[in-house]
Symmetry: D2
Subunit: 337 residues, 4 copies
């Protein structure tokens, strides 16, 4: 950590800052620029709080040298993390293709969709049982009944189940019935939930918040990992911008950035990001060649009558055709599904 003092700061103030830093067991490197004194802090600077330093008279800026995440940091683990979901892997050379409806609606629906996902080459079934809806008057999901139906669909197809957990009240149900626990964008900084799933050993799919920076997202992964659960898969699903033609702006640059900063796998959800079905195919293909470790795609057998988010779902036949293209691109990238 580097502390920049204001021009013309009195020596007494500089000494005060130095004594605070040294009081924390750190060493200092003091240098004088053209106009400012600069105090370099050497040692484990995570004991320093920039917020407090900035409150001291004479301190102008506090610059971070190290990223604040540790367990998620590539610096401390070079090789990519491969998350193993009952033998199905994500990360390294392994692509995870998660597909299915926005919401689980009925046994018939979820099994029909699951079969088509399986037939097209997907390896995970997604489907919301508990739905985070903007309006309290919208359909909120089949809840525990939805988990049962997902389990039936797994039995029928062998697909691994990924579905969203919104409440700590249901952690046990999810640990028992689900293969990957999804934390939605709106709960990315629900720290209570992160801490509690950090104590389980289930793989976690952590969606990026609606306007979270990549650093904050990795810090949320850190919350889970700090609890002992290092099976975290990141999922980019669009960030909020001022552009109205798309619901959110899919940030595909997040793939190479995350690969540079962290060893965790990252997948892309092109359905929620753009909000329109016609954006799914081009963005899914783009994600694969940009280095994503997988995709999460909404597939519905009857989008016009879907109970949620029909406009962003593609039909099973379009998913099949998309998967043919994905397979070709995956091969070019030396990836396997």
């Amino acid at each position: 950590m580097i502390i920049i003092m204001k021009p013309k700061t009195e020596e007494e103030q500089i000494k005060k800052v130095i004594s605070i830093v040294e009081g924390k067991g750190l060493k200092i490197n003091l240098s004088k620029g053209m106009t400012n004194f600069i105090i370099g802090c050497i040692g484990d600077t995570s004991v320093l709080d920039p917020s407090k330093l900035l409150r001291i008279d004479g301190v102008d800026k506090v610059l971070k040298v190290q990223e604040p995440f540790k367990k998620a940091n590539k610096l401390f683990k070079q090789e990519p993390t491969i998350v193993d979901v009952n033998g199905v892997k994500i990360g390294g050379k392994n692509l995870g293709i998660m597909a299915g409806p926005c919401s689980v609606e009925s046994e018939e629906q979820i099994i029909e969709v699951a079969k088509s996902v399986k037939a097209s080459g997907g390896n995970f079934l997604r489907g919301g049982a508990f739905k985070p809806r903007t309006s309290p008057y919208s359909f909120q999901g089949l809840e525990l009944e939805g988990l049962k139906l997902l389990k039936l669909a797994k039995k029928e197809t062998g697909l691994q189940i990924v579905t969203e957990l919104m409440s700590t009240d249901y952690i046990d149900d999810f640990v028992e019935n689900v293969d990957v626990i999804q934390i939605g964008a709106r709960n990315m900084q629900n720290f209570d939930l992160l801490k509690q799933i950090g104590k389980t050993d289930k793989p976690i799919l952590l969606k990026r918040g609606l306007s979270a920076t990549i650093e904050e997202w990795l810090m949320s992964a850190e919350y889970i990992m700090a609890g002992g659960n290092e099976n975290v898969i990141l999922c980019e699903r669009g960030i909020r911008t001022f552009e109205p033609y798309t619901r959110n702006t899919l940030d595909l640059s997040a793939i190479p950035v995350v690969k540079r900063l962290s060893h965790l796998p990252i997948i892309i959800d092109p359905s929620h990001a753009g909000g329109y079905w016609y954006l799914v195919e081009p963005m899914a293909k783009a994600a694969i060649v940009a280095g994503a470790d997988g995709l999460m795609i909404e597939v519905h057998n009857d989008p016009e009558n879907a109970l949620s988010d029909g406009q962003q779902s593609i039909k099973p036949e379009n998913f099949r055709s998309l998967m043919e293209k994905i397979k070709v691109l995956a091969k070019l990238e030396s990836k396997e599904i």
Copy 2:
């Protein structure tokens, strides 16, 4: 709700859309523009899901005529809601001034700050017992011990207590010990939490999410109100933009916008918004003349040694001086503290 069909859509498709709309018990008004057919839907259109309509071939756009919030909507309740917190009112002519440290740190600290808040004319004591911190390695608050200390401070000063609830596990503790339950920006769309506090009768302070639109914020208020608890106070605390000189951009226009859309009171938190102590006074004053129903301000007796967010806290003597200015402006606005 208005459905715009694409140019050259076949009659059959238009009939299909009409039959869907009529099937929901609505009436339709069909008109033909220069290039597009336009279907007006008349009746309670909350039964229509734009997402499904957009998935139908031939549908180009779906435009909303009404706001999606009901209980929070000024259309259905003209007079401003006045939230009564054990006799201390917020809304209408009544300003709520909430002040105190970011975190409760010790009995001595919270009582000293509380006394100075009281002496300067504040009517609520704020102070975090459970702290939402970006890093799992940062101080997470004194938790239940913090609630006890707040209660002591209340006993000493008579100030009403407002503090943040992050987990459904502690709802009973908060209902028992706290006067206003704060829902933080990061939990604005933690729908599980919103539903559960909607069943209590405690006043709720609902912070706007880091990048929430005003509509989404009011929909989160609607979640609480739909559960039966209509004592909701909105709190604007800055939205995320690309500007790095301030932590967030305080959106003061939200005050007149909320006043136009809703009957709920709205207060402003200039401390978290900007992230620097020197922004607090000008933004607090601005909030009052822009029509805010109150303020939430971080005051710390020793900001340089605060356990969190010291750089945005002001000292008790600065709070006193700020309150003198606020009182003059409040009088001009015909408001009372």
Copy 3:
């Protein structure tokens, strides 16, 4: 255009609005919803100004049915525009690969880079002669001398020249010496410049503004086209968000959105978008499979000593290797370079 009246608006006000609309030669369709009157305006609604309508008492909202761009609108020209630059085409099946240094620095530099671009399969040489720099104290480009050097490089390699015009004072020089005139992001709404280049017959590369919506970008294309010059190539180069790990956020969804709205070709600049060289390859590949009509890439023979933007330039050998991958992907997409 659809006008939504406020609930409880008096009949007199509704009549006033109707008479204004009819006075413009339009027909109206009046319908009554649950709470609001709705006035549909039928005919060429470009004569109506939403801003004025919104000022009339009783008017609540004005909703647009049609996109405001005409010549750029796919509705009025289904087949994709193919821009022909002295026989080198962009659009349809033809990819335009523009590469070269941020700034033209010397004859030796530009010719060396041009040769390597040519050898690797690029068909355009980019290079800034006039540089838009945030600081007045930064290198501003070789100006007219730069144009001369670009012309020399063209003579040597046969590559078409694309370079940025910042001032109407130099239009004649650009028309004479350049093959594609680039309008930079910062000048996307320099309407004076747009109008004047609209009177030339040179192909124009129009970069998206730093925070322009797609609609505004197409309206800027419309400015050029309205002047008579329909040879417009759009270039997405990242939009401003709150994410600090990348300079801007590359909005690849803009490709399918633009393809849906307009017939104009769209290319991607992954160098300026992300701001770091390591983002160039993954984003360039992603752009191609997402349907882009070309790329604009910064290549410098000695990035460490570049006079501008070295950190986002790739070296000639990396460009060669990238082009091998692009060629494979282009073939999959049935595109030709």
Copy 4:
């Protein structure tokens, strides 16, 4: 400037960076943190280009210590700049109140509005003669005829004239006829225009770009000042966010931030920022108590029939009533109009 090297960088690379820095005539301060070497650069670091440094192997980050603006920097001029417009001052204790229609439409209109602005206590008449319109098909202003009408209005009322210049072709006309030359948000980084007005001695009103950071805005002021013209007035007019209820989000925090960084005066335009007339009064009042040096407000005698932006204009009687409130607040702030 501080250069952070990557962990495990070889000594040879560190020596290379040091030799580059020293080659520019700077001194260095080398220190070793826990994992990284850190190179402090001492001297006039404006000769270093972070972009080039970042391209060197082993360089991880480059951190700036000093702000990049010089003439606009408060560090080098403590007392506030007071811009004198023919005796009417802006800055220090002097408020500039600029009001008038979005566009000059006719002699009758501009003179009527000017008289009412004067009567209510405004000291500048605003009015667009050249209008930057998103659509080429919208009214573009009366152009030179508009300047003439503004001059007539000045003769009639004595108000100083402020109006927007969009093209270098008209600089002479503006220097001759106008008192303050406005540079619009869309031209904030039209560097050609900035350079040329920097050579005049007219006061310049520089609007903040639609998504410009405060640093970029001050750098645009620096362009003008570097040319010799130090009479720059900054004008905040809203920045682009994701919030749709307001056209832009007015960033009032920019007032205290600019006051901390620069000596230049800053005024607020609440009309363009929000886009709706009902936001003007609360935001204008807020601006004054937050420390603004003035206001720019749209006033139209007949907003329903305005040729542009009617929905954000207030009527003369509302302006009069607003000015009464502004005068009271100005007095509290020890400001004079």
